[in-house]
């Protein structure tokens, strides 16, 4: 009747196949309700325009030789990926309340597929949004100044940041379960996390306490890394204690650490749904 795959290889194969079925289903939502996708671009676009043109002129302490637009956009990429990942938890909460998760849980599919499919969908969507942000960046004066490979690494790093945050978001969504509450809960931590960092402004202008927080915020490490990857030496010169390899290593370590904590947490919560 149906193959359920008891061997390890079989399980992995079905896990991948089931996740793809779910990812396709999740992506169809953006095809059927295009407005949802449009709104995931509007917010980062607003941030680009507001910071580039409203705050841009007032921001001091930029690394020597680096325009604010080239300082800002890498931070916007990171922020966009993190904001975008909040959709993971909201989508899961919606699926829980509609009852479709009950249907999935009654099927002989891999239990991880609902989460893997959803986070994969959000990774794809994040990639598209980041590519659009790069295009918009070029319109307002941004440009990659450190070569093609570095640009690709910057994009890859950015979507992986979003992917790791999708698992945090999934954990929150499965814990809170109510769509509106998930939305409200998410913004209470996502805003301070991305703003108290070097994503949008240099660290020098912050009060001492915030500066200490910002220095140890992984968003700072990610924003610095993406900035060095896109802008090159001028960005690196402002970080005398860092090297590009060191930044990439630290950025990756944070992503791996988040995944190692939150993938098992989210999967366990999904398994223990009642």
């Amino acid at each position: 009747m149906s193959a359920t795959g008891s061997t390890g290889g079989g399980r992995l194969r079905w896990g991948v196949a089931d996740s793809l079925v779910i990812a396709r289903r999740d992506l169809m939502k953006f095809v059927r309700i295009p407005a949802l996708f449009v709104f995931s671009i509007v917010q980062p676009l607003m941030f680009v325009l507001l910071f580039r043109y409203v705050f841009g002129g007032a921001i001091a302490g930029l690394p020597a030789g680096l325009d604010y637009v080239n300082f800002l956009l890498p931070g916007i990429f990171v922020q966009t990926a993190i904001f975008g990942s909040t959709q993971t938890g909201i989508g899961l909460a919606e699926d829980l309340s509609s009852g479709i998760v009950d249907r999935f849980r009654s099927l002989p599919m891999a239990r991880s597929a609902v989460l893997v499919g959803r986070t994969t969908t959000d990774l794809v969507r994040n990639l598209v949004v980041v590519l659009l942000m790069i295009a918009i960046g070029y319109v307002v004066g941004f440009s990659f100044g450190n070569g093609f490979v570095s640009a690709l690494v910057a994009i890859g790093l950015t979507v992986m940041i979003g992917f790791s945050f999708s698992w945090i978001s999934a954990t929150i969504g499965l814990a809170i379960k109510d769509t509106e509450s998930v939305q409200a809960a998410t913004f209470t931590w996502v805003f301070p996390l991305t703003f108290v960092s070097t994503a949008l402004v240099p660290i020098g202008g912050m009060p001492a306490v915030l500066e200490a927080v910002a220095r140890n915020n992984p968003v700072t490490i990610w924003a610095n890394t993406v900035r060095v990857l896109t802008a090159g030496d001028q960005a690196l010169a402002a970080l005398p204690t860092e090297t590009l390899a060191g930044l990439i290593l630290k950025s990756t370590a944070w992503i791996v650490a988040i995944l190692m904590v939150f993938v098992p947490l989210a999967v366990r919560q999904y398994r223990n749904l009642s």
Binding site: G99, D102, P108
Partner: protein, 332 residues
């Protein structure tokens, strides 16, 4: 396979303070339609969720098609279908996309999933709507799609959780016809309902469940025969006088059951039913209670339920705490 295809022994489940199920025993023979009848909060949905592996029991054990609901959960999911308030369709996918997706998740090959999706759409009268998002469907169409989704993999056992709740009368009859068809095909069905008529019309056997326990089991006729004879039903013009009616009629037949909400009194009567009717009219006249309606009828499942539990089935007031996965949906 010999013996019951669904079997439960001493199933119990507690949500915090609430005992949703206490020691439920059930046995369902292959190829039959089994009804789980009870008010909201009786434990019907909890039972279905245990049989379909969405919940694990605290104590007791259950088997479906030879698979243990805990130990063999994965294999069990391959041979059962679930529809009704416990499951749903994706509103953003079309009817055929929904069915194909479910087929693929049952691990049918792509072409086979597509073919069966077409068959199911055809069978449930959804072929024309098959390429429209389910969001645009009426309640009845959605329920048919939901039922169809549970059939894509041709399950041996189908669990229908309140399959007609919230449907208009016409759609309800459609769903009834489909359930009868499935039974003809040899699928075993377990359905939950709070409607007596539905249990009476569709099921081979019924378990009456109230406050987490099975309080009676048998065919509809067996359950009705427990009351025996006929039932005298009296409704005073002034509903508030139902208790007065009961005391005026003390001793004319069996023990009177008062449905205060509906303002009706039911009294089982054996032997000379017509004589009891005359006596009842005389006594009510003497007590100066104006009669709105008085009649003798064969016992219905309503009478059975009332005599077993002391309350009518559709008047359940105990609400189970909604299991966490789908907080806003009503449970029973």
């Amino acid at each position: 396979m010999t013996g019951p295809i669904i079997r439960a022994e001493g199933l119990a489940k507690r949500f915090g303070e609430v005992e949703a199920l206490r020691a439920v025993d059930l046995a369902v023979e292959p190829g039959t339609v089994f009804g789980l009848l009870g008010p909201n909060g009786a434990g019907k949905t909890t039972s279905v969720r245990i049989f379909t592996t969405l919940l694990t029991p605290d104590t007791g054990r259950a088997e479906v098609a030879g698979f243990d609901v805990v130990r063999d959960a994965v294999a069990l999911r391959g041979v059962v279908g679930l529809a009704g308030q416990s499951a749903a369709v994706d509103a953003n996918l079309t009817g055929s996309e929904n069915l194909e997706m479910v087929g693929r998740l049952y691990h049918l090959p792509r072409a086979e999933a597509k073919r069966r999706a077409g068959e199911v759409l055809e069978r449930f009268g959804l072929s024309e709507a098959g390429d429209r998002p389910a969001r645009t469907y009426s309640g009845g169409m959605r329920r048919r799609l939901d039922l169809g989704a549970s059939l894509v993999a041709r399950p041996k056992v189908l669990f229908l959780d309140e399959p007609t709740t919230g449907l208009d009368p016409r759609s309800r009859l459609d769903v009834w016809a489909m359930i009868r068809e499935l039974r003809e095909e040899g699928i075993t069905l377990l359905l939950t309902t709070q409607y007596m008529e539905e249990a009476d019309q569709l099921t081979d056997r019924i378990a009456v469940i109230d406050l987490g326990s099975v309080i009676a089991e048998g065919t509809a006729d067996e359950l009705k025969a427990r009351i025996g004879g006929e039932v005298l039903e009296v409704a005073p013009q002034d509903r508030a006088l139902a208790d007065d009616v009961a005391s005026a009629l003390q001793g004319v037949g069996g023990e009177a059951k008062v449905d205060e909400r509906a303002g009706r009194v039911r009294i089982p009567v054996g032997g000379d039913a017509a004589g009891v009717l005359v006596e009842a009219v005389r006594r009510l006249d003497a007590a100066r209670i104006r009669i709105g309606d008085i009649a003798l009828h064969r016992p219905t499942l309503d009478d059975v339920f009332l005599s077993l539990t002391g309350h009518v089935a559709e008047d359940g007031s105990v609400e189970e705490p909604a299991p966490a996965s789908s907080g806003r949906r009503r449970r029973s």
